[in-house]
Symmetry: C2
Amino acid sequence: MLEIRHLRTLSALRSAGSLVRAAQLLNLTQSALSHQIKLLEDRYGGPLFERKTVPIGFTATGARLLRLADTLLPEIEQAERDVARLSQGDQGQLRVALECHTCFDWLMPVMDEFRQRWPEVEIDLVSGFHSEPCDLLRAGNADLVIGSNYASEFATFPLFRFEILTVMALKHKLQAKRRLQAADFEGETLITYPVPEARIDLIREVLKPAGIHYQRRTAELTVAVLQLVASRRGVAALPNWAIKNYVDYDYVSARPVGDQGLWSDLFVSVPDALRQKAFVLDFVNVIREQCARTLDGIELLS
Amino acid sequence: MLEIRHLRTLSALRSAGSLVRAAQLLNLTQSALSHQIKLLEDRYGGPLFERKTVPIGFTATGARLLRLADTLLPEIEQAERDVARLSQGDQGQLRVALECHTCFDWLMPVMDEFRQRWPEVEIDLVSGFHSEPCDLLRAGNADLVIGSNYASEFATFPLFRFEILTVMALKHKLQAKRRLQAADFEGETLITYPVPEARIDLIREVLKPAGIHYQRRTAELTVAVLQLVASRRGVAALPNWAIKNYVDYDYVSARPVGDQGLWSDLFVSVPDALRQKAFVLDFVNVIREQCARTLDGIELLS
DNA sequence: TCTTAACTTGAAAGATTTTCATATAAAACC
DNA sequence: GGTTTTATATGAAAATCTTTCAAGTTAAGA
């Protein structure tokens, strides 16, 4: 019998373009999806999509079911939000603090979508820069932090993992190397956001441990950082998704750091009082879904 | 996680008015539904309906989910019909023959609904009266028979069971009895449809075995039979659902026959070639659903 | 007060779904 | 042209979820 689960699978299959990647989206194995699809195909008496083409192509039957999914899934989500509103009376506020500066880049569209879904919840960015956003939570000056380190006193929800690349001007001397090592940064100028050194992964994880000397120069916005980099004032360490376009259009070039690359995991943290709130869970969902769709080269966590 | 199954349960719960009867509709135990609902209530954090009132009343949460069911279930059925059309190319014809005369009463709205759902299928009633409708199937002059006896050579699908009551004029002498026995019919005139005696349950099952003498008089339409009964020309044996209104408005009165009552089961029979056709299965569904909704005092089979 | 009808509940049984381990097959790479 | 890599399939075992069974509870009605 057709179930909502199957519609989600089809929908994921379209976004992902293959069974393997769809399985990751759904936190299932590829085998599970293969079995699921086989069941549907038995039931409907024919294949739902062509395999082994990238991306897969849906058959007429598959496309019709996909259209059903497109109709049903948003209705279901809407209904579940309505139910949450009914039972939790969800007016509330959500003051969001960011640990990771670059996250501004995707946060605005996420907040727009969230406002549509939860008109009664007042969502705002906590402005100004803070050495330790979790302190804002403790002090009750923020309700939710998006960041990579999380204190066990808060409820946390995994978002995604991404690689931090070193960005440099075209024809920079380090461009010759495929991967950069700590020693390569000796004497370089780092362009960073204006935050403490401890909050800059490249410094904390790589340069400090290796005792490398470097200069720092700061800029507030990602574009400003990139301008400085492009005009040869220094190098920067930024998320792959934040710089993809600039690299693709040969404005700057990027190299991984160390043998494994430098990776960062993002989480949402909220005080325990908010952990059950439907609008908080949905905020996390909106982030995960929009980022998975919009940002290249990230991996959803958990 | 919410599944389509749950929406069907809620929908059945509304039609049925209680868990016990909803369970019958769905061919599940009442306990299964109780567990199902409990799961939903845990998930949504509150009751979905008030118990132990007849009929049950839905809470705001329950009503919202029910509204979701009302949106989703028809979409799903539509999509599945579309898929069946895609894979089976279902233009076809469906010549329907009736064994049970009274069934005309509900067949017309069923056929209307069916024509909406399957515009490419030409559905028609095989007109004229036939001693044995199954012969029409064998001869290839009909595609589907609705009747109570079924030959094993055909694929059959259960519809419903109903009680056949004896109908008599008000103040008829037999009205004094709560239940009629074979001997009570001695010397009476039976008003029947113009079909062979073997096809009239009361005669075949009760009067013949007991060797009772009776007269017969025939009429083609149910209203005509009832007119004759009301004007004291004789008694008739008709399905409970066919006469309910006439009894309720004191136009005639009705009594069960024998200690168990006289019951009849209805089936759909089709030749093997049609048994898999989606439009045939859906025709059966439309009958079952519409009759369950419209006809009083029937029991869905299987 | 006893009976009945409607629902709940915990444990066992039954189904279904998922994973694991492995197979196959096409495409990409050297 | 062979070797890897990538994508999917499959059977059996494991895990999970759903349903049934067998009482148990509760409220209304006789």
